[in-house]
Symmetry: D3
Subunit: 160 residues, 6 copies
């Protein structure tokens, strides 16, 4: 019985918190598809190609992981990939509240897909892509928050 899980997100950019969840997930599932959301109307700092490229660079060496874009309903993507599970990382209560709502809605749309929640390492409990971008923009130290490669990409983007 092969189990595939989808880990969806915007990854603008990927952080050490995301990578931590992926590493925990791959111990449970046979394969994880990191699904990079593409939304024509929502503006991101990095393009879809850049976000995928940064993920590939950051997850190099990890086995059983695939990175793919998606621009459809999450449940439709999950079905198309023959996956059974959606993984979501939760840090804080407010996170969970929104995640709960999405999970129930997705169950309504596709009853056979389960959403499971995982907690990242406590040292990443304050971490989000938005915070990383805000700190990087002001030249703050993000060495422990993202891989070195991502740090460089952020500095290039902000012309620091």
């Amino acid at each position: 019985m092969k189990k595939t899980a989808v880990y969806p997100g915007t990854f603008d950019p990927v952080t050490n918190g995301h990578i931590d969840i992926i590493k925990r997930g791959i111990k449970i599932f046979n394969k994880i598809i990191v699904a990079v959301m593409f939304h024509p109307k929502k503006s991101t700092l990095f393009s879809l190609e850049e976000r995928i490229f940064m993920l590939e660079h950051s997850l190099k060496g990890l086995k059983n992981i695939k990175i793919e874009p998606f621009d459809e309903l999450l449940v439709d993507f999950v079905k198309k990939k023959n996956a059974q599970v959606v993984i979501r990382g939760v840090r804080a209560i407010s996170d969970f509240d929104y995640e709960f709502q999405m999970a129930l809605m997705n169950r309504q749309l596709a009853n056979d897909i389960e959403t499971i929640f995982m907690i990242p390492n406590g040292i990443y409990s304050y971490l989000s892509s938005s915070l990383v971008k805000e700190i990087a923009q002001y030249g703050g130290n993000i060495d422990t928050l993202v891989p070195m490669f991502i740090k460089n990409q952020l500095q290039r983007k902000f012309k620091l």
Copy 2:
């Protein structure tokens, strides 16, 4: 003693969750005014006229209900209508937090108007107008989330 309650919202568009609250409210109050917020600067998918029209269509047959636009402070509208109560539906904790703040502020502005909170049917606990729009946009199945008429309006809007 005639009791009138105001049920305010943007209704962009009305969902089965809204309709559920209205049906529950009308068992308690003699009259419910569904107050459709009009905010010139906030963009909505549907125009004020469309939102009112969709509500009229969805609430057809229900007695003691009036649908009216408002573009003023909620408490001023409530007073003008000689209503005594504001009804708010709450689904999740984060909802309630914001609602609590609004209710206390409105009490500060008009001490004689009470806000009461009601819970929609559990099957609508994940439901919001934003989620419905997001799912409809991707062609997802919203048959159980909005009346058929609203579904058609959404499909027309998104040219599906």
Copy 3:
């Protein structure tokens, strides 16, 4: 159309927060039944008779209010009284969480009974019977938290 609401609680003892909710409720409903929970196994500071007596004293002069004990399922009591609504006061988030659970369970048991939530005056947002008892026990000042009569009863009970 006569509307009766039940306001259930332990009232061990009644506080200014409870009285505030009752006064707000009676502006909305034709009649409010203050239902005093009696649970043989749960120990209370005041006996059922004392709790009812203190409520009667504190609500003297308010019209359309009845005080009654109950030792059955809340929904069974509500039906027997031909009431349609249960009123609950909510102060904090954690309150609401528990209340939400009870309201959904009661709806499951009796679909035609609605639970509505009301917010007490902000100055009572920290107030609970337990806190009042704790403060009274140490001789703290509870003048603004309970009616004078209740204060005296607490002092007698704690032999202050």
Copy 4:
């Protein structure tokens, strides 16, 4: 790669909410061990033997499920069973708060064991063993909350 998950609880008694989580879990994992907590000092309505018997009866026919008692640290039990994952069902925000704390503590005690959270069917979102016992005690209708066999056991216990 065989994946075993442990689903711990008191199950005093098992409810339809527990059964729902177990059924969802077994679609993800190769084997689920339902671990029944035994705590000499914590009083339960049903004895350990009764709780296990009721689980066996309720889960009859489900494959890849084992029911076992434990009276040690959860992480020690999980290791002894060569399991890698702990499953927890979460219903409400307050649930999650406590669960989050336990999961982080367990990770501290055993870094290689992951806790994952799953959401039961929305119709069980208000359901807990305590509520079931309270309703059963008063003769309320629990037909949709527990299997028929559990209902009978509760009625026998309460001599209804």
Copy 5:
């Protein structure tokens, strides 16, 4: 041992809630620097100069308080000022959730700076600059929410 605290915010405009926190803070610390955030890309109703001017006017007479703009990482500003503490006012749960995240992130960036949380007077528990602006825009009564001077500035801005 001189203790300086920084109280950062957008203050668009300052409210009675902010002033309440500052007055409470000055009883604890030797000096408070009210740090007015300037973010070129985030639009505010009042310009940086106007926001500082309104703060100066509202805090006139209070000793040991300095008002200064900042457009850098908060922790960098705090260090430059030789301050040791960041003060944040918290009103509601959702507030605290976000504040918690910011405080942990700031500790990560500068381990020797402590964030402390204070609660404003309960009568301001519903108060925010956004709500004040919304009410003022509709000509609502904000007499108890901001100083008279701020009220006049708001009315001028909205050409009421």
Copy 6:
């Protein structure tokens, strides 16, 4: 201007989380009084004398700290000690909810005493005296949760 803060608790037993808050607090205040609650009716694992002794041992070497028992209203103790501030550590949302209530109640009882909230190091975010006792009882590893001396006391108590 000498500033004294009171840090109240049961400390049954003191954990690394408590010690972390005390160390952070002493950087802000001139003196911290660690106030050990004594409640004749509430049973604790360690006696008042043991709890004070363990605190003394754990805080040895830290300056400007005093450890004292109290069995009265917190605000009365704070006044008697000429302190102006109460320090509380907050970890999770549910913590804060309860703390918020206590702080507002204490302000009602003594308006000139401020409660401030501080966050312990993230690695102690899951830590509580109850959890430590539960883990110690089962022989779990608590090396990173309490000082070695406390660990020994717990093992002696549980006769491990």
